[in-house]
Symmetry: C3
Subunit: 146 residues, 3 copies
């Protein structure tokens, strides 16, 4: 049950991609976040909601979802951990990662935590060789299969 | 007091190893987790318990320990941070990492946290060049030396 | 809005640097932590305090700040996440990272959390090619701009 090593540089490239990508999301740069998907990308950010499709569709969903958060009073942070990447024969990458959502309220030092999630991504190369998300599905740890 | 750089690719390989390894543990694939140790590996997962030895011994300890958790009601997540790797002259690696245990209860969005730990690993190469744990010792931050 | 890939090995080198550096800080090796800055480095660890300058100045500030923590009763841990690195034309690196402070009290399994921060670093190469911090500015997520 060996853990296969990836080509040199690939794993760090994925981590670096997530670093930039998730700072865009938490910084409310939703257009920038949507642009990290392929043009026909799929984003299912909650088990209870249908998936969004295309960059325009993802942007619309994010803008709608974040209307419930007041940017002047709330700072969200999506932390990732234990990114596990597998390379498929066609060169696409499957990445499964832990994600914990932190919500910081103005003037309150201790963040609010939750949910704890698992992020299931498929990454591919764009025209310039850059990484892009073809799909992202998020599951919630506190929602157990019936 | 310089921080020495590791050979290219090595640090990312260790992070990638941990990503896969700890997802096996939290996914209750205890045989898969035990297989990330050398055949004669040592695992001391709690300061108050004796170390387990060999893959079979590690597997037995994990199955016993996890009987107290009901997989239908609890999802555990072992987060890592600040992995600090040092290469020994014989090629073995010493890796010291922060670890925080999250316990997610069914239908409860906010995880339970603790303990905060330090994981002390020694990694070596297996027959196929893959990384394996020769030993893992875990200490708990809230247990102070007397 | 492409996320540019860094030279192979560079991103992992930054993560490895942080792993060692922050373990020095949390292990109260303040001289070791100060030595990860350039000789004329700048460290602004709190929005409400003036920046410290030079290794000697950084060491003095840290020793003073940590007098309020009793090492026999408190273990602090500075977790990092989503390190986002950008390379400038002059070879210096800008790294923006999430940071969450954990404070562990003796005999208490659950850590205390906060503040959630963003760490803004500029890294350069020292005489031996090693990474050093030229400056570090820390902002707090719960302190919103007026």
């Amino acid at each position: 049950m060996t853990i296969t090593a990836l080509p040199t540089g690939l794993y760090a490239e994925v981590l670096s991609f997530y670093g930039h990508q998730m700072q865009k999301l938490d910084g409310r740069d939703f257009a920038g976040y949507a642009a990290t998907f392929t043009e026909d990308g799929e984003f299912k950010h909650s088990p209870s909601l249908p998936a969004a499709h295309t960059r325009a569709g993802i942007l619309a969903v994010l803008e709608d979802f974040h209307q419930k958060f007041d940017a002047h009073k709330i700072q969200r942070r999506h932390w990732f951990n234990h990114v596990a990447v597998t390379e498929a024969p066609d060169g696409s990458l499957t990445a499964t990662s832990y994600c914990l959502v932190l919500t910081v309220h103005a003037d309150v030092k201790q963040p609010e935590f939750g949910p704890s999630c698992v992020v299931h991504d498929v990454l591919v190369r764009g025209e310039d060789g850059e990484l892009l998300l073809r799909s992202r599905h998020v599951t919630h740890d506190h929602v157990f299969p019936v």
